[in-house]
Chain length 349, copies 4
C-alpha cells in the first residue's frame, strides 16, 4: 500500500467543518483530496473561496451530481442533516466508507431521530451498523466500521469528561447530571443568519435552546448506555463571543465509592495512552485557547466539599468537536497512525 | 408649543440605524414615537425584537401600508436606498419633514446617483431642495430644510476632519487627498450575510471596496464644492473587528500658507462653539471608544516633517455617523435645543 | 433642599468602578462631584485620563491626603479591599455617608472576612451597623443606613435570581444550589496584569478560582440568611471575552410545593414594582448586551423535566453589579428618585 | 549531518515571540530545543506556563546565567532591546550564530540606533557584519551570516509590499511614501500594561505613536538604501482589536515608466519563486485571517485613477513579522529546506 494515498471526498465543503477538514487533510501525508462538492460553488477553486488554502489545496468545488464519490476510499459528509443517510447506501455498495459529521447516524433509536430532526430515517440498517465515532470509547469498533457517526461537539466534551466516572459507576444517579456548556460562534456554522452576525454575537453572551438542543438526546442516549442505568440530564448550551472553543462545566453527585478514591488518578490512568485527551494536573483549570486549532481535549477535576464533583472540559469545537475527530476516525478505520495529520500545535496567543 | 411633542415616524426600524434612532429618541423629552414600520416584523412589539428597549419603547412595528406617516411631524428613513425618494413627495405634501439616512438625497448630481445606485432618481426637484445634513457645515440651511440628506458615516469623518483646512484653502491640491478609513462591523448593517458573521469578521481585518465605495463620490462632491477646485481623492475603507466605531486617517499636502500658521488653533477656533466636535489637545490621538454610544466626533492633528498633515478622526458610526446626526438635524429643523436627546456619556470601558 | 446638590466624593477614581461612577454621576441632576481621589494620578484632569468624559467631568484627581472628603454628603469607595473600613469611622463622625464598592462590609462575620481577605476587620461596630445594599431586598434598611456594603457582581445575580424562591421556601436544600457564572473581563479591574491582556483573554474562555472565589462566602452567607437553613452552594466563575456583562446560570432542586405553582408568576409578582429587575416572558432567554451600560438585570426561568429549575440572570457587571447599584443605593439613602441618573438605555448593538 | 539536529537556544522565552518560536520549533524536524531562558520563570516547565505546548515541549525555563548557550548552534533573542548585542560577541566567539528578534542589529547607523533606543551600541563591528533578515531581499547574505537582524513587523510589510517598485525605480519620490499600518494587539507583547488590557483594547481602535515609532527609522533606512535616493516617508501605526494580524496600506506616486507597465505582472514575477510571498489575483484584497498562524504574506495592488498606487499587505505579525521569519532565516543560514517547520496551514476561521 505504500505510496498509495487514500482518496478522500468531502461533500459540502463550504461550511466550517468542511473547510476545517480541508485544512487538516491538506497536509495529511497519506491522503489525496479527490473531490470537494458544493452545489452553490461548483466550478470555483476552493482556494478562491478560502484564500487561507492558497498553495495547499488545488482542487475546485465540483457539482455533487458530477463528482465520482464512489471512486473515493472514504467520503466525509460536512452537510446539513439528512444528506449522508441518502447517499450512504450507494457509497457503501461501492466499498466507499462514510464519515458523517452531521447527525444522521448519531441516534440509534430512529424514532428519537425522527422526533428531533423532523425526518424519517432512510436507512435504518446502515444506522444499526454504524459506529459512534469517539475513538477513546469505541476504537475497536471504529477499526471495523464502514459508517461513522461523528459525534456532536457538545457530546464529545460531556462523554469524554465523564467517561472514567461512568465506567467505574462513580456517579450517584439520584441527582441529575448537569452540563453547563459554552461554545464559540463557529459552532453555529457558516450560514448567513442575523443572530451570529459579528455585531450581534460580539461582546455578548447568552444561553440558548429554550425548547431543547439536538445534542441533548444524543448525550442522554450515550450516557444511559454507558451507565447501564436510567439517569437525568440537564443541559444548558451558551453562546460565547469567540470563534473557536468549547468549555463544558459538568456537575455530578458522586457515589460513596467515588469519594473514597483518588479521582485524579482514575482519570489520569484512563487516558494515559490517549494522545488527544489530556488530564490536567490537580489544581489547574483549562482554557479554550490551549487547544485552539488542535485535536486535543483537556480535562480538569474540581472536587467540591459536598460530595459533588465539577469537571471542566475544553476542546476546539471544530477540531476534536468535529473535523479533527473525523480525521482521527479515518486514520483508525484505515490503519493509519492515529495522530497522522493532526499534529498541529495549538495556536497561542 | 409646550407639552406638545413632535410626532416622529421611523420607516425601517429593524436595522441598526433604526434601532439606534429608537435608543436615542426613547428618552428624548420632546419626541413621541408615533410609528415604526417594518414589513417583515409588522405586529411584533419593538421591545420583543430588541429586548434592550424593554421598558423604553412600547410601540409595535406597523406595516408600511397602514402606518399614517403623514400625521407625523418628521419621518426618518432608515431604509435601503431608493425608499425615501419614493415616499418623500407625498409626505412633504402633508407637511411632514423627511430625514433620509440612506443615500437618496446625498448626491446632488442625479447622473452620479444613478451610476452608483443603479436606479434613476425619482424626484430630482426634491433632491435639489434637500440639504446635506452636517450641522457644523450647513446649520442655517438645515433650519429651513424640509428634506435632509443625512450624510454617510465615512463622509462625516472626512468632511469634518478637513473642514477648517478647506475653508482656509490650506490644502495643496496638486497631491491627492487620501482617506484611509476603518469602520466597525455594524456599518455593514443588520442583514444576514456571510462576510459579517462573527466567525468571519472577528480577529480579522481587511480592506474592501475594490471596485469603489459609494461614499467615494459623495465625499468627492462635497470636497470639490468646499474647495471650489478640482482635486483628487483616494479612499480606502477597511473593516475592523469592533461593533461600533470609525477611525479615519487623512493625509493632505499643505499649502505654504498653511505651513505658516498654527493649525491646531485654526481647528480649535473653527469648532469652538460646536457641541459635538472635539479638537483634542496637541500631542494626543483619539480612540474610537472615547465616543462609543455618543454623538461626539474627535479630531487630532499630527503634523509631518515634510509639509504634509495627518488628521485622525473618530466617531461612533451609528451615532454621529448616522442616527445621532439625524437627531441633531431634527433638533435644528424644529428649533429644539441641538443637544436634546444626545446627552449620552460615551460608554467606557 | 431644592437646588442644593449632593456633594459626592469618590475614593479611587481610576479603576473601572470609579470611572463608571463618574459616567453615571456626570449627568445625575442632583449630584455634584466634589472630589475624585487617586494617589497615582493626583493633579491630572479626570478627562485627560478618560477622554470619554471630556465635556462631562471637569474636576482633577486629588491626593487622598488633601481631599476634604468630610465635606461630602456621601463618599463612594471604589478602592481595593481594606481602604473603606479604615476611613469610614472618621467620615461617619462628620456626617458623611459611605458606600463601599469593595468587600469591607459585605461579610457580617468578621472571622470569615479575615479568612478570605487576609486582614482583620478594623471597625466591627461599623460593620454591624452597615447594610447590604441590594435595594430589592433591603430597601427600608438602606433608607436609614449610613454605611452600605455594595454587593459583589456575582452575588447580585445569584441573590436576585433566587430571591422569589428563597422567600417562598421553594428550594429543596438536600441538593446543592449551583451557580455557573460567566463574567466579562472588566470584572477583573483596570490593573495591569498578564491574564487580562487582550491577547490572553480574547477569543478564549476559562473557568477560574480553583482555590475558591471571595464571592463564594458572600453569596453563601446571604443565601443561608434568606433560607433560614443550612444549604450547600457550588460556585464556578468563568471568564468570557467580552468587556461588560455577566450571565449566571443557576440550578436548583424544587420542593414539591414549588412544583405545584406557576413560578413564572411568582417571579413576575415579586419584581412587579422593581424598576431594575425584569422578568422575561416565558420561553425567552436573556443576553448580556440587552443590559449593556444600564442598571437593569433580567431573569428567565427554564423549568426542567426532573423537578429542577434553571434560572438565567444577566446584568452589566459594572452597573447593576457595581456602580449603578451604588448610585441606586445613594438615591435611596438620600430620598431621591430611585431611578435618577440611571436612565441610560442599554447600548445595542 | 544526518540525524544530527540543530541545537537551538531561545533567550527570553516568555514573551509572544518566544512562545511563537517554541510553537514553530516544537515540530521542526531538524531542530532540538536545547535551552529556553527566563530570569523570572527559571525552573518552571515551559508547558506549565504555556499549556498549549503540553506534549510538545518538555524543557523547563533555565536561568540565563546557567544556560550553556555557547553549546547551541544558534540562539534566538526574543528579548527587550539591548540584550542581544551584549551577548552576541561571546556567542560568536564560540561559533554560535545569533538571530535577534529585537532591534539591536536593525539600524546600521549606530547614531540613529542610539537616538531611538536610548543606549549606545555595544558592538558596532558585529552590527556591521550583521545581515538584515528579509530572505526575499537578502537571501545570499543570510546564507553566510552569523548575526541576523530579524526585521520589525511593520518594516516587513512595507518593504515586501514595495520591493518590486523600488527595484524598478517605479516610485516618484517627489511625493512621500505613506504607510497606514494596522496591527493586532499581540504586537505590543506579553507584558502587563493597562493600554493592552482586554477591556481597553477590545471593541476599540486607535492610532498611536504621536512622537514617532521606532520602526520609522528602520523602514526609512531600508527604503533609502533600496531606492538609492532620498525620499520622504509618512508612517501611522494603528492598534486593532485582534490578537494576531497586520494589515498595511501603502500609498505611492508612480513614475511615468510605472504607469506604462502591468504592475500586477511585475509583482507576480518578482515573487514567483518565493514560497512565503503571495501576490493575489487582480481585483482581490487580502484579509489578515488568511495568514493566521502562518508565515505567508499576501499582497494586493489597487491602482488609482490619478497615478497613485495603493498596495495592501497582510501578514501574521508574530510569524512572518517575527518568529516565522526568524525560523526562515535559521533554515537558510544552516542550509535547511527554507520551508521546514513553517508548513502550518493558516487557521480559518
Amino acid at each position: 500500500m505504500e505510496n498509495q494515498k487514500l482518496k478522500v471526498g468531502i461533500v459540502g465543503g463550504t461550511g466550517y467543518t468542511g473547510v476545517e477538514l480541508l485544512r487538516l487533510l491538506a497536509t495529511h501525508p497519506d491522503v489525496e483530496i479527490a473531490a470537494v462538492t458544493s452545489r452553490g460553488e461548483a466550478g470555483l477553486a476552493v482556494a478562491e473561496l478560502f484564500p487561507s488554502l492558497r498553495g495547499y489545496v488545488d482542487v475546485s468545488f465540483s457539482n455533487p451530481e458530477n463528482a465520482d464519490l464512489s471512486a473515493c476510499d472514504v467520503v466525509f459528509f460536512a452537510t446539513p442533516h439528512g444528506v449522508a443517510m441518502r447517499q450512504a447506501p450507494a457509497l457503501l455498495a461501492s466499498n466507499t466508507k462514510v464519515i458523517d459529521l452531521a447527525a444522521d447516524f448519531r441516534l440509534q433509536d430512529s424514532a428519537v431521530f425522527e422526533q428531533w430532526y423532523n425526518m424519517p430515517h432512510s436507512c435504518p440498517d446502515v444506522l444499526q451498523a454504524s459506529v459512534y465515532g469517539i475513538a477513546e470509547l469505541n476504537r475497536e469498533q471504529i477499526k471495523k466500521a464502514n459508517v461513522i457517526a461523528n459525534p456532536g461537539c457538545y457530546p464529545t466534551t460531556v462523554l469524554l469528561g465523564l467517561l472514567p466516572l461512568l465506567e467505574h459507576a462513580y456517579i450517584d444517579y439520584t441527582a441529575p447530571i448537569i452540563a453547563d456548556a459554552k461554545s464559540g460562534v463557529s459552532g453555529a456554522g457558516r450560514k448567513a443568519a442575523v443572530p451570529t452576525l459579528f455585531s450581534e454575537a460580539s461582546d455578548n453572551m447568552k444561553a440558548y435552546g429554550v425548547s431543547g438542543h439536538r445534542h441533548h438526546p444524543e448525550i442522554e442516549a450515550q450516557l444511559k448506555q454507558l451507565a447501564s442505568a436510567d439517569l437525568q440530564f440537564i443541559f444548558t448550551p451558551h453562546l460565547v463571543p469567540m470563534i473557536r472553543g468549547m468549555l463544558t462545566t459538568l456537575y455530578v453527585k458522586l457515589t460513596d465509592d467515588a469519594k473514597a478514591v483518588d479521582l485524579q488518578s482514575v482519570y489520569a490512568q484512563r487516558y494515559e495512552h490517549e494522545g488527544f485527551v489530556d488530564v490536567l494536573p490537580k489544581g489547574s483549570l483549562p482554557e479554550t485557547r490551549s487547544v485552539r486549532g488542535s485535536n486535543h481535549l483537556r480535562i480538569a477535576l474540581q472536587p467540591q466539599a459536598n460530595g459533588y464533583l465539577t469537571v471542566v472540559v475544553v476542546q476546539d469545537n471544530l477540531v476534536k468537536g468535529a473535523a479533527g475527530q473525523a480525521v482521527q476516525n479515518m486514520n483508525i478505520m484505515f490503519g493509519l497512525e492515529e495522530q497522522q495529520g493532526l499534529g498541529v500545535v495549538p495556536l497561542m496567543p
